[in-house]
Amino acid sequence: MRMPRLFKRSLVVCLLYADDIVLFSNSLQTLVRLLKICEVHSIANRYLFNVAKCALISYVTI
């Protein structure tokens, strides 16, 4: 499977363990795209993420 060029710079894009998911990204554009992929996948497969349990954390000094 070919990896999209956008994700090639990230060593790990996501961690999945059962229903616990973490997405990683080096840039805002990648993060937005990853979230969109998750959203589209959930709709296509008839499940929903619990938005109340989703959050963002920044590893950049604010």
């Binding site: 805002l28 959050a55 963002l56």
Partner: protein, 137 residues
């Protein structure tokens, strides 16, 4: 720069996602600095104490079932809770673990009139020192 615009563009099902200082993944508390071991062990200690209280209510106390039974109960129900994630914990963060372990041992196992000696004895039996030494510094 991008954290400031983060809130306005990152959404899921058109709902904006909140920016948080820490989150729990697989039972570990993560902050922007990595795993928060103090919080992690605080939570594990709370869980262990809750199980200890539940077992005590059910009559599984050292005073009632004796030292051997209490040790078995400790190893089966309480120790796995206390040791979750311990293999990846650096040694410098483990001082809190030893205190937590001793507290759990005292509460769940103490049988006679010498709680300190008894808990020390149980610490030896559960190989706590070995566990601490085997971790990376």
């Amino acid at each position: 720069m991008w954290p400031s615009v983060l809130l306005s563009v990152t959404s899921l099902y058109d709902a904006l996602l909140p920016l948080v200082e820490s989150f729990v993944y697989l039972g570990f508390t993560f902050t922007s600095q990595g795993i928060d071991w103090k919080d992690h062990f605080g939570r594990l200690g709370g869980k262990a104490m809750a199980v200890t209280a539940m077992l005590a209510e059910a009559g599984l106390k050292g005073r009632i079932i004796g030292p051997a039974g209490a040790l078995r109960v400790f190893k089966t129900f309480i120790r796995p809770i206390l040791e979750y994630g311990l293999t990846i914990c650096p040694q410098k963060n483990m001082t809190g673990v030893v205190k937590m372990y001793n507290r759990a041992i005292r509460r769940s196992l103490v049988v006679g009139r010498t709680p300190v000696l008894m808990s020390l004895g149980f610490s030896v039996l559960v190989n706590l020192s070995l566990l601490v030494k085997s971790n990376p510094p």
